[in-house]
């Protein structure tokens, strides 16, 4: 997740208390049907491109921005698969608490070569569906969708 002005501005007013955040995630496959997964710095599990929406940002734009920031890829087309409700209260290292509502998109058209941003994303690569690493909740969701 990249630096988000909306999150920062809201946190300045509400502190660490729980809040509902909405965002988007993208299921990206290559021509061979392999799925793009990324591992965030400090994390062990692999997941999808995802992030929280800015103020008034359309979900497709959130996905477009996060794809560019986290992977260097350009979004050309996406379709909504599901709207995921939170499964738990998330608490991040600085104490901030939130519930996450995530629009899961299938990216139907994209271009570019995936490159991890080197700041938040430690690793980034395509995996065969039969040979997936340990997955985050969103990664598991992707596996369900592709099964």
């Amino acid at each position: 997740m990249s630096t988000n002005d909306y999150v920062r501005d809201l946190r300045a007013l509400i502190g660490t208390r729980p809040v509902n955040f909405v965002g988007a995630a993208g299921l990206i496959q290559n021509e061979g049907g392999q799925v793009l997964l990324l591992r965030r710095v400090g994390a062990e599990r692999w997941g999808l491109v995802t992030g929280i929406s800015e103020l008034g940002e359309a979900l497709e734009e959130t996905l477009r921005r996060e794809m560019r920031e986290e992977t260097g890829l350009t979004l050309h087309g996406a379709e909504l698969l599901e709207m995921l409700s939170p499964d738990r209260l998330v608490q991040v290292a600085n104490g901030d608490q939130f519930y996450s509502y995530t629009a899961l998109f299938r990216v139907t058209e994209w271009s570019g070569d995936p490159v991890p941003d080197g700041v938040e994303i430690a690793e980034l690569r395509f995996f065969k569906l039969g040979d997936l690493p340990p997955l985050t909740r969103l990664g598991e969701k992707a596996r369900e969708v592709l099964a």
Partner: protein, 152 residues
């Protein structure tokens, strides 16, 4: 839209400045293909049923809660049609509160109960044919109903 406790709590801290609210819109459709709308107490205009999610509330639960509160209905199934979001969802309430909406639009064809307005938020409930919808619908309702027309 209903103002759940989480909304009131957050407003105490952020005041009227714009925030992103996540919630649901329920398109309750009868056997004739008509959609249920409510005439709102605050604005006097017609709108879809639905509202803002409580803190951490699953959107399917928000849908059930709002249908029960606003119309006395119980959904027996719901299908996600689309999610409406973006700059066009901006609203400013008469009290000055500003917000953008991220709204999961559900189609509800199977439900039980007899629609009855709650008398607080909504003063009247009525089924409308999709080709004879009332004027002055909000931006999210308009997009949701366009999607429904394409669907049915």
């Amino acid at each position: 839209m209903t103002a759940p406790n989480s909304v009131r709590d957050l407003r105490r801290l952020v005041g009227p400045r714009p925030v992103n609210w996540v919630g649901v819109c329920a398109l309750v459709v009868n056997a004739a293909g008509e959609v249920l709308l409510q005439r709102r107490t605050d604005t006097g205009g017609w709108g879809t049923l639905g509202g803002i999610a409580e803190l951490g509330e699953a959107l399917e639960d928000t849908l059930r809660r709002e249908l029960r509160e606003e119309a006395g209905l119980t959904p027996r199934g719901a299908e996600l049609l689309t999610v409406v979001s973006g700059p066009g969802t901006f609203q400013k309430l008469p009290n000055g509160d500003e917000f953008y909406q991220v709204t999961a639009v559900y189609l509800v064809r199977d439900w039980t109960g007899v629609p009855e307005a709650d008398g607080e938020e909504g003063v009247e409930l009525r089924f409308f044919p999709l080709d004879a919808l009332p004027d002055r619908l909000g931006p999210v309702d308009r997009q949701a109903l366009v999607r429904l027309r394409h669907r049915t």
